[in-house]
Symmetry: C2
Subunit: 444 residues, 2 copies
């Protein structure tokens, strides 16, 4: 029952012109934190008539809700006084034991004592950055990289240096080059942040060869690796690749999450870290929250204990495979010549590169008007790159909606190219003029 009418866009927000009487009182790190006007746009993108290929929400409709309800019912009745009480700052011991089991699926051999449970893996990233980074420190990240990580690095006033990648992952030559030139420039590189599996936003997976090369370079340069792996078990074509942490346990802090293999609303993620780092993470967690969500840990441990969670992951894989295939088929059918895209073997995302002259950020309001949304590529770079890219996610809409979304997107691109051919670069400037309240790179 799709509506055929166009969507009307919201007025630009006037928030930022308001007087903030606290502006002189904020910490250095708070300056520059501003509300992106793209939020209003995404509020429109969430209307049912718009096919949103923008978000990263998993589809959890297939969870066995009724059975889960009964299990949590018993949990509260039988163990409620523990599940609703304060817990350990490091996370509950039985939760950490279960996390060891989950990580074993990716060939990681770990001890529960080296795990810190966090409020989603976003908080693990926050704590790691807090423990390691002073203002001005350099963090290396893939070009492009996860917008939420860039936001955290920004919040701790780090300098993000992007490292080139191709369809096999980070380019080892570029990584070595960056390390050498940053060292020559007297910069302190604190770590490499990488998503080796089905990367957000590109969908690219590091090959095994690249993994070994990256670990080799890390050892040479005494470089800590932060391995962020929320999608690793959501392989759609093959078996999971060995995690970096499974190949090297000294220089790697591994971040995991239940958000994609179970459900995100419980906010349970974790960090697996070398012992000394783990100690600092626990103390930092206690200062930040006293303890991570206790009831959530009891609920997730109950799920892992009483349900066939491996079979649920297989269910998820089958569901996402169908969606990934719908997107790739739709792109083949509807994209302009000169447009290219990645072919992810898992995860949630496809990364599209537009023909020269098109600007995904400038185009977004018109796409939303045509009832399709995506995330502009600029969101995933700390340095303003990515204007010819867009991230499309296939996780949440149905296969039919995904296919329809690519059709609408194809039409938008054709109109854009037509506009570009007719008016050339002048039109580009005029469009930018429209966008004073347009998308900013802090979309989450």
């Amino acid at each position: 029952m799709r509506q055929s009418g166009a969507v009307s866009l919201p007025e630009p927000s006037r928030r930022d012109t308001r007087l903030d009487t606290y502006v002189d009182a904020y910490a250095e790190r708070t300056h520059g934190l501003t509300v992106s006007a793209v939020r209003a746009l995404f509020a429109v993108a969430n209307r049912p008539e718009v096919v949103s290929l923008a978000g990263g929400m998993p589809n959890i409709a297939d969870l066995p809700r009724d059975a889960l309800a009964k299990a949590v019912d018993r949990l509260i009745a039988e163990r409620g006084t523990q599940a609703m009480q304060y817990g350990s700052g490091q996370g509950e011991p039985f939760m950490r034991e279960k996390i060891v089991e989950v990580m074993a699926e990716e060939q990681i051999h770990a001890h529960a004592d080296d795990i810190v449970v966090t409020c989603g893996s976003q908080q693990a990233l926050d704590l790691v950055t807090r423990v390691f980074c002073d203002p001005g420190d350099v963090v290396l990240a893939e070009a492009p990289s996860y917008v939420g990580a860039l936001g955290t690095f920004h919040a701790y006033q780090c300098q993000v240096v992007h490292v080139a990648m191709d369809d096999a992952g980070i380019d080892p030559v570029a990584l070595r080059g960056a390390l050498v030139s940053l060292k020559a420039a007297g910069k302190r590189v604190k770590f490499l942040y990488t998503i080796p599996n089905f990367q957000n936003p590109t969908g690219v997976t590091q090959t095994l060869e690249r993994r070994h090369a990256i670990i080799e370079i890390a050892k040479e340069h005494d470089l800590l690796i932060i391995e962020d792996n929320p999608y690793g078990l959501l392989t759609l074509d093959a078996q999971p690749m060995p995690a970096l942490r499974s190949l090297e346990d000294e220089n790697v802090v591994y971040l995991g999450s239940f958000s994609k293999i179970f459900a995100p609303g419980f906010r349970v993620g974790w960090a697996l870290a070398p012992h000394a780092v783990r100690e600092k993470l626990v103390l930092t967690q206690e200062a930040a929250t006293l303890c991570p969500p206790v009831f959530s840990q009891f609920a997730i441990a109950t799920y892992l204990e009483e349900f066939d969670w491996r079979a649920q992951i297989t269910t998820y894989r089958d569901m996402y495979r169908e969606r990934r295939d719908a997107m790739l088929t739709g792109l083949r059918e509807h994209m302009l010549e000169g447009t290219t895209w990645t072919h992810p073997e898992g995860g949630f995302f496809v990364w599209v590169t537009l023909p020269e002259g098109l600007d995904s950020q400038a185009m977004l309001p018109r796409a939303v008007t045509a009832r399709v949304a995506y995330t502009p590529g600029t969101a995933f770079y700390a340095d303003g790159m990515g204007s010819r890219n867009m991230r499309l996610s296939f996780c949440f809409p149905t296969p039919e909606r995904i296919h329809e979304g690519t059709r609408r997107l194809g039409q938008v691109l054709e109109q854009e190219l037509e506009l570009h051919r007719t008016f050339g670069l002048g039109a580009e400037a005029a469009r930018h003029h429209d966008l004073t309240a347009g998308p900013a790179p802090d979309i989450s």
Copy 2:
């Protein structure tokens, strides 16, 4: 079935002598974060034969567990796909509406839009400090103040300046004096952190007169007040006092929590802040966790919607009143002459001042051996004061156990005083020698 034998103490931890290969890589703020040796001691204090008057855990045994279990069962079955999904970075709208209702009990008139939900109110404190404080900034706090707040301020490299208080709360003369001399010294004071009701650790409540005086001074000096109020509704003798935020809405950030009026394991707290500050808090929350625990918010909102939560608070009050009375009776019966203590009208804590010559920190291992635990006063000062004080909590043990605890404590004090009289200050020095692995001021 109490055992009569003494408890044997753990060996001092040797962790801190291990090599930390990352020590050069940590951020400035991470240096000085070390594991306190008191943890091992408190692990012993948690054994059933020890009466622990040390912790701050609420007693949630009286919650209607079976009915709650059924309500959460229905929640998952009927609204599970929302409750287990990602949510708003600011917190769910219905949760914030309910929080407005809870705050109205303390005469606070607020709008749901000005609330940020957090992972416990500890995280609210963390986010507020992150938004306002650069390294070296001054934070004012009562002398003594909540150990978890001191830990957070320390984590952001703030300088804590304590302001004298008496049994009516913060001394306005001392507050004004501190502001004047800090200004003269060129220091930036970012805010006053205060717990006006049943303060942790003293149990003292600010009188209404003092509240007005503090607000007056805050206006004069353009001072932001962080009002931390986890215990406000747990009044044991009278009606709740009006919150500072109910008397002044411009210069106050109010922190609330469900940990004491419902249950802590869901980890839901909040900050109510002036609009501009709230905006910064939401952006900071998104960088820290993406969103606060979603399922927890659904569960707590369900509780507030379907249960008589005001009656539950009355149940809690009756339970804690009995425990508070048991402690005050026990102290009257068993304390040494020259020992004084506060008489809290609510909350969880009594603050004891020992006769001159006694040292609560030095004495703790011997108290634990005598099967009673408390928190040494030094934990609640950033400046090494508090050695003659101890915080006793009456929240968790039964009234009988509390009474027995005070009896054991009285015996320990007598033995200490005897030792002190016999050996004088030499013995004091000898005891300190025992304590190289003893309690440190970061007990949580």
